[in-house]
Symmetry: C2
Subunit: 201 residues, 2 copies
Amino acid sequence: MNSAAAASKGAQTRDAIVLAGYELARRVGLDGLTIGSIAAAVGMSKSGLFAHFGAREELQLAVLAHAIDEVSNAAFRPAFTRKRGLTRLQAVINGWLDFVSTLDNGGCLILAAVSEFDDKPGPVRDQLVRYQRQLREQMERTVEMAVESGEMRAQTDPAQVAFELYGTFLVLHHDLRLFNDRGAVARTRMAADAILQRHLS
Amino acid sequence: MNSAAAASKGAQTRDAIVLAGYELARRVGLDGLTIGSIAAAVGMSKSGLFAHFGAREELQLAVLAHAIDEVSNAAFRPAFTRKRGLTRLQAVINGWLDFVSTLDNGGCLILAAVSEFDDKPGPVRDQLVRYQRQLREQMERTVEMAVESGEMRAQTDPAQVAFELYGTFLVLHHDLRLFNDRGAVARTRMAADAILQRHLS
């Protein structure tokens, strides 16, 4: 194997570890991840895994990054091809709603991590705060573009709209996961529509 | 000690154990509670504690009941003295908002337990579902009374309003705990006002 092939193989192994860690963390929580449990899941030795991730925390951060990519890919990536303004905002809402409502067993890793780490100072919490702020700011920016396009009112506060929309995703996740209530999807659409409606020009 | 005094002493000890368990669970989670850690917190032996709670799960259920009482006392108890209708609904919203925004370290035990137990079938999850449904139904009933009083529209769906209001409490808790953003309190008031506004007659 030449060095380029070896590097590529290394990256593939790293990706496989992160993916296994992500699936495991969705069941046991990010804080429940151990090097041993992931090594077992990917069929590696613990020392083999340590060659890729020097510490459990490094692995937790990589899994967190993957989880944020998943949300971001679902909610924002497809919407970026849509026209700036209300069309794109609607696409972000739909993407986010689809993401939450099609989560299978284990729910949203990010929301579980918020609950686990909101009172645990350290690098994982710091990174989680950064990621969650970025997601919120992307949503605010999307609202702002609908103000710039003239579709939403000039007085609209994008941070308020993003805050309210995020609340609807949280209660959707809560009711789907705890009550197993599929009716929450329609309620969320109605809630999001009402939030937008208040701000249309 | 006569038998009445002994029973009263037993109830006091039980209450002290539940309270210690509640404070501990707010830091380590309901799933992180152990008979040993609570015994240490109240200065009892593990066998002494087993005289009051036969199993860890029994203790978890008692701590959960206490946590729900805390929410219910804050959000609903004071509001019950207020006039049925919009006045009482506003009081419930204010009580709930005050409860979430004055939680000190550890956050809301119920929300942490939802995240821990939403995918763990068993008696704790079952009880959590029952409690969360009861809280939501109390909120729905409060909205319904504002419809009956004629202050809110006849077409108003109390379940939709309760769902939306719950979302605002969830994002308030999220932003206070993760972002340490006190501005979330004013955003939540604005969001709740907007939800009510849509339904006023």
